[in-house]
């Protein structure tokens, strides 16, 4: 028993480290209640350690916490390279977000509560780490809740403005209902299969006939919960409001890490529970009761279209980026909809790139908001001249988000389209490219304001700390390099493709 426990614990070292860091943060919060500036560093150290072990854990491929009642391959967690890839992404994002938070004036103003802030961040990280490797519906539900509960609080954490609290409340109610629906779906699925383990469910589905109506309904309900996390239309409604209302560091975190975790969860859920078999060329044939492809394509088209078209109208940059992140979720869902390793690869690459460019964009928005106190697009007028570095960097991030060469965003878009066209989903591809043209409008609009518009008064140049420039460069340089030489990025993703299961 204990041996098992130790073996299992070895498999989840990153999670354990994060949990310990969480406790340490709480502890240090109590010890150093005068000056809490050390706390973020504890978090950073802990996350780096976790990252180290996550990278170490890349080649691992086994189940952890196998249940005694069943054979070995039915674990609560699946520790595989796919999960580790996302764990690495999430941990990197978390580290970036901690630096991000340190630079953010919003977070600086609540310094005395920074212990709780970082503790909750750790809670989110932990939730996400479990999400990406969860292979049991209960773990899925609980890890989603762990993530959610932390983020509900964080969304309203600063309490600086009305909208913080409002974001928090909306997020809470929306999240509670979504997870409630998901739970109900889980209970129905449990009723049909008598199990909550994805592999076990897969076995049941292969071998017995089930009521398709109930089955579909429960899957849709479960998808509500996941769709809520990845802000897929029509489960996205919270996204713009919460993104706008939250502290910008949390917005960035939600838009990248929590979405990554959601996607990892979705992919694992589909791939583990509903696959019939995987061909040599990496495409999946699915158990036929539920047409995942059509379903996700519908969601995906809705998502990208709504995200892009509504983003056109936004004047608040944070809100615009929220819609843009919805749109990107749509593109990534396209990668999922292909239902092949190729699509998954595209999603993985897209996340890597998306992390760079989205955090970069948010970071610059934050830097500007720090100084000007505004995220309004009109306040960006002529900013490109006042602060050329920020202007150019933000332009590059936004152009990369548009998916224009020679930036990394193009490569990830290319991979998605490679997958989609190879799957012969031509109509979908056409809709997607038209969407990407539409997206240009709002991204370029920011550039227009920064460089083309006339300002009432010339904005003052922003003085940047060296650390801030370094932070931007850390994100900017890979965005450019990966656009021109993307072999390492794709090699990395390709080596992390294996998902446990059939």
């Amino acid at each position: 028993m204990l041996e098992n426990l130790i073996t299992d614990a070895n498999l989840i070292v990153p999670e354990i480290i994060v949990a310990v860091t969480l406790l340490l943060v709480v502890l240090f919060d109590l010890i150093f209640h005068k000056d809490k500036s050390i706390i973020p560093y504890i978090g950073i150290v802990g996350l780096f350690a976790a990252l180290y072990y996550a990278i170490q854990g890349l080649p691992q491929n086994s189940y952890a916490f196998t249940t005694a009642a069943t054979s070995h391959q039915y674990g609560l967690l699946a520790i595989d390279s796919f999960g580790s890839y996302f764990k690495i992404l999430i941990l990197i994002t978390s580290i970036l977000i901690i630096f991000f938070s340190k630079a953010s004036s919003e977070i600086q103003r609540i310094k005395d509560r920074s212990g709780e802030y970082y503790a909750l961040i750790m809670g989110m990280v932990l939730g996400m780490l479990f999400m990406v490797s969860a292979s049991d519906l209960i773990i899925i539900y609980l890890s989603v809740e762990l993530l959610s509960l932390s983020s509900y609080v964080l969304a309203g954490f600063t309490k600086l403005r009305d909208r913080n609290s409002e974001a928090s409340l909306k997020y809470l109610i929306y999240g509670a209902v979504s997870s409630g629906l998901m739970l109900f779906g889980i209970s129905l699925l449990y009723g049909m299969t008598g199990n909550t383990n994805l592999i076990a469910i897969n076995t049941v589905l292969r071998n017995s006939s089930i009521n398709i109506l109930t089955y579909s309904f429960s899957l849709i309900l479960i998808f509500v919960g996941i769709g809520f996390k990845i802000s897929a239309v029509p489960f996205h409604f919270w996204t713009p409001d919460v993104y706008e209302g939250s502290p910008i560091s949390i917005t960035a975190f939600l838009s990248v890490a929590s979405k990554a975790a959601g996607f990892a969860l979705l992919i694992r859920f589909i791939k583990t529970a509903f696959i019939l078999n995987e061909t040599d060329s990496g495409s999946w044939s699915m158990i036929e009761f539920f047409d995942w492809q059509t379903f996700i394509i519908i969601i995906s088209i809705l998502t990208m279209t709504l995200g892009n078209f509504v983003a056109l109208w936004q004047n608040n940059l944070k809100r615009m980026l929220a819609y843009s992140s919805i749109a990107h979720a749509g593109y990534m869902l396209l990668g999922v909809a292909v239902l092949s390793n190729q699509g998954i690869l595209a999603v993985m690459i897209h996340f890597l790139v998306y992390m760079l460019m989205n955090i970069g964009a948010f970071y610059i928005v934050m830097l500007i908001a720090n100084k000007t106190g505004s995220e309004d697009i009109d306040d960006y007028n002529r900013l490109g001249y006042a602060s050329p570095f920020l202007g150019v960097s933000l332009s590059i991030f936004l152009i990369s988000l548009t998916g224009l060469p020679p930036l990394a965003g193009f490569i990830s878009k290319l991979y998605i389209f490679l997958a989609v066209i190879d799957a012969k989903l031509i109509t979908v591809a056409v809709i997607a490219v038209i969407n990407s043209v539409v997206s240009l409008y709002y991204y370029i609009r920011v550039l227009k304001h920064m460089f083309l518009k006339k300002a009432d008064q010339e904005p003052k140049g922003l003085k940047l700390a060296p650390a801030e420039i370094v932070f931007v460069l850390i994100l900017l340089i890979p965005t450019i390099i990966f656009g021109l030489y993307f072999t390492p990025m794709i090699e990395f993703a390709r080596n992390s493709l294996s998902i446990l299961g059939y």
């Binding site: 495409s283 390793n341 224009l404 066209i421 012969k424 591809a429 038209i434 240009l440 083309l452 794709i490």
Partner: protein, 534 residues
């Protein structure tokens, strides 16, 4: 060229220049301008070196071995993808008779445009940095032989162009810039899809002997490389190939710009600053026709042959429609912008002929239009710089006030009209001869010849309104004859226009072998593909 990567140099030299410009402090405007001038000057020199080493008898088009100055190495290689085998992208540059004139044109027009930018004084650094980036994009498009590389260069010039119009442009610059951007992007995203479709339909043998999918344009042209069920493979019984052709063509057509996708052009031209109008008209819109010749024609030969009539039809519509609309313009620059629409119609018509003479004429027209329109836009720039208006009716009688200027205007206008002994005539005549000799485009050609008349009408009318008649005393102080800098821009172009008018073989000999190869390849490959798909 003894292993000297001259094409890479000519393509990426501006990037080096851009970095240098960015390093320079803001205040050293002269220095920034000089760097740009030196860089573009070096480009011209490299282009001349290329020309002097150019083998006139090498065909190129579909045959890697007869391309020249080839640079090819594996840029991206990712193996072990179970569904793709190896994902690879080559850095593959090369030149043949079709790209050589475009390369010369790009180098020349960039150089002239640099001189023309001398008076830019707003955010000088930004302007020249973007200008040089644009230069790389344009040059790259004309030398790339790998579709992905081509696409990257193609998109690369969008953003600099957006800013160059949007920041340094006229009153409605933002509108014009975004319109340009959106139109072009709209075209190019479909190009992206077609590119991916083609990627999955063609394989190429790589070093280890296995066949992998490829972006290599030359491999895509070889019917034997098609996969059995690739989405755009003729072996695959679906009509995607046709749709893909249309999509690809639309992408290029927007750039040309072909009716009815041309509406971005007048706006962009009118709002853009003079050097950018020069680049836009001189080089950028050639990318569309170049792309059609380089990609659409050899990769989809049988569809090209089937649709020749429609290509020609749109060409003729462009000629007549563009001309008639130009006739109604009151803005000097807009008039010239529409004349570009009209003149690009000749290119389309020539291409539609599918004959050596016609395509020769079309490419020659591309080059000539590049030089002539560059001249025309510079000419507009001259009066606009001085009078700050482009209203045609605001002027009159400039011939006496600015005789040398009028001289250049006359050359440029008559070249645009297609007066013999100037280069425009030869290309237009060849286009007509070629198009008429093809059964499909014969009747169209007859309508197309109306363009000769309409062109003369709007050009001469404009000439009359601006240069003849009574001089408007309002401009007495501002309008002075052209200065040294303007000579430096106009003289080389005028010399080229006259020289090629008298001795067109200087250019046509460069083209000829490749065009013959292309025409031959079109027919033989179409036959092969038809046989395959049966």
């Amino acid at each position: 060229m003894n292993g000297f990567p001259i094409l890479s140099w000519i393509t990426f030299l501006p990037i080096i220049g851009m970095i240098a410009v960015l390093i320079m402090p803001n205040k050293m405007e002269k220095g920034i301008k000089l760097i740009t001038l030196v860089i573009t000057g070096l480009q011209v020199i490299l282009a001349i070196i290329l020309l002097s080493n150019f083998n006139y008898s090498a065909g190129g088009i579909y045959e890697a071995s007869s391309f020249q100055f080839i640079e090819k190495f594996r840029w991206i290689e990712i193996s072990g993808l179970s569904w793709l085998g190896t994902f690879k992208v080559d850095y593959f540059l090369g030149v043949d008779g079709i790209s050589m004139p475009m390369l010369l044109l790009t180098a020349l027009v960039s150089f002239i445009a640099t001189i023309s930018s001398w008076k830019i004084n707003k955010s000088v650094k930004g302007f020249f940095a973007l200008f040089l980036l644009l230069d790389t994009g344009m040059m790259g498009v004309f030398v790339a032989l790998d579709f992905l590389l081509f696409y990257i260069f193609w998109e690369l010039m969008l953003l600099p162009m957006y800013f160059l119009i949007g920041i340094w442009g006229g009153p409605r610059k933002e509108y014009a810039a975004i319109k340009f951007f959106i139109y072009t992007l709209f075209g190019s995203v479909f190009m992206l899809l077609v590119m991916i479709g083609l990627y999955f339909s063609t394989t190429e043998v790589i070093a280890d002997g296995s066949r992998v999918f490829t972006f290599n344009l030359l491999a895509m042209m070889d019917p034997t490389n098609y996969t059995t069920n690739g989405i755009l493979s003729p072996l695959n019984p679906n009509n995607y190939r046709f749709i893909a052709y249309i999509a690809l063509f639309a992408g290029f057509a927007i750039k040309i710009p072909m009716f009815p996708f041309h509406t971005w052009l007048p706006d962009a031209h009118v709002e853009a600053p003079t050097p950018i109008s020069v680049i836009l008209a001189g080089v950028l819109i050639k990318m569309g026709t170049y792309g059609i010749l380089r990609i659409s024609y050899p990769i989809f030969p049988q569809i090209t042959l089937d649709l020749a009539y429609y290509i020609g039809l749109f060409g003729v519509i462009n000629i007549i429609y563009g001309g008639l609309v130009a006739l109604a313009q009151k803005d000097f620059k807009k008039m010239i912008a529409y004349s570009s629409v009209s003149h690009m119609g000749y290119v389309l018509l020539g291409m539609a002929s599918m004959s050596t003479i016609g395509i020769n004429g079309a490419i020659f027209q591309m080059f000539n239009h590049g030089t002539i329109t560059a001249m025309l836009f510079l000419i507009v720039g001259v009066v606009y710089d001085r009078a700050h208006t482009r209203e045609i009716n605001a002027f009159g009688g400039l011939a006496n006030k600015m005789p040398m200027y009028t001289g250049f205007v006359t050359i440029a206008f008559f070249a645009a009209i297609g007066l013999p002994s100037l280069s425009g005539f030869v290309s237009e005549a060849l286009v007509f001869v070629g198009a008429f000799s093809s059964e499909t485009t014969r009747i169209l050609t007859m309508f197309g010849t109306l363009g000769i008349l309409i062109g003369a009408a709007y050009m001469l009318w404009t000439l009359q309104r601006i240069f003849f008649g009574e001089f408007n005393k309002k401009w007495d102080d501002v309008l002075t004859d052209i200065d040294f800098r303007e000579y430096a821009m106009l003289v080389p172009l005028a010399i080229i226009v006259i020289f090629l008018g008298i001795y067109p073989s200087a250019m046509l000999d460069i083209l000829n072998t490749s065009v013959n190869t292309l025409v031959g390849f079109l027919h033989s490959s179409a036959a092969t593909i038809t046989k395959m798909s049966m």
